[in-house]
Chain length 217, copies 2
């Protein structure tokens, strides 16, 4: 018997949209996956030799990059933040659309700025640093795991870099989007070494590619 | 009018135990704080000039260290991981007890090891690195935000460093605790600069100290 493939999916936002896509590619989690109270992290799939692990989005990338999972689904924001060389993202699943943007208080937005140093609160310090470096600005990034939108009103930072979907959260906190760094959508990711050595990974990529292009059965 | 003090509390594990302690120190959140569906991050308190923010445990330390919150409650694990010099933890609240430990698969635990290099999955890379450095072992830390207990069975790492309370999660995943790095409990933390410049912060420390020593009214 060969070991089952491990497929990593993120808790939260993307998962509801990802499940139908996975189903069309033949990956259907066991019933227990949908139990609200179920705190299990690892699940069998229906009739397949695939095991699903459900972890935080940032951890999806880490498990796949290290080959602990052979494939998974994660947002392009996370892929870009880590920039793991071992990680290959061959298929845009066209789900989980949002954008990663700079936002700041309505009061300062649009004012001319000669700042060569600024503080930014973000979950994405690498992307943020690269973004400002390209503009010749040194950004001091304060890493937060959530609640970025509190930072400006509490004086933690003048700006934030965060995911924006409807813009509602920003508005509720007196913030306005001032620059879009990247469009985000969810991708199929695979471990490069696993893709070369395990034909099931290549087959998985083809299945997801067919689903994404609308040519699957 | 002076600005309200901002008091940061962590989502999750510690909060239920922290609320009665805060109440005895005079900090009672508005009713909306307890609404399950309420996704707000910032709350008024009953009759006080204190505002509560509810953020992730790691972010509690970050907000307080930067003076964006003047005080808060967080586990000693988080304090130790960041080791922010601006952060002062004057009162052990004797709640949220657990321990931070090394765990590994039952199969390898206790075997003699001559390893001078090992991989450890953890949410606490700084504490973990320091722990192994003190033993002359170079530890490659793989930072995970959760689901550490999956790492050994998936081949991500031979060991994990994680919070342990009952040990149930470890057991369910075929792991056993092999070394206790530190005992953990929740502390009152304050920003050092705020403690020097705002007498309300010093008063808050005295109130919590009285509560913790059982001498409060």
């Amino acid at each position: 018997m060969t070991k089952p493939l491990t497929f990593a999916v993120p808790k939260g936002r993307i998962l509801d949209e990802a499940l139908p896509v996975m189903a069309r590619a033949g990956i259907v989690p066991e019933a227990g996956f949908h139990d609200k109270g179920n705190r299990a992290l690892s699940f069998d799939t229906v009739g397949g030799d695939v095991r699903i692990i459900r972890v935080r989005a940032f951890d999806v990338a880490t498990f796949v990059a290290h080959g602990a999972a052979q494939a998974g689904i994660v947002g392009s924001d996370v892929i870009e933040e880590f920039a793991y060389p071992e990680l290959y993202a061959p298929v845009d699943l066209e789900i989980g659309h949002c954008r990663l943007s700079v936002a700041e208080p309505v009061a300062t937005a649009g004012l001319p700025s000669a700042a060569t140093h600024l503080r930014v609160a973000t979950k994405y310090p690498n992307i943020t640093r690269r973004h400002y470096e390209a503009q010749g600005v040194q950004a001091e990034c304060i890493k937060l795991n959530g609640a970025m939108e509190l930072a400006p009103s509490l004086g933690l930072s003048g700006r934030i870099v965060d995911l924006v979907s409807t813009g509602r959260t920003l508005k509720d906190n007196g913030l306005v989007e001032t620059y879009e760094i990247m469009q985000v959508s969810a991708r199929l990711i695979v471990n490069r070494a696993a893709l070369k050595t395990d034909s099931r990974v290549a087959e998985l990529v083809e299945k997801f590619r067919a689903v994404a292009s609308g040519t699957s059965a």
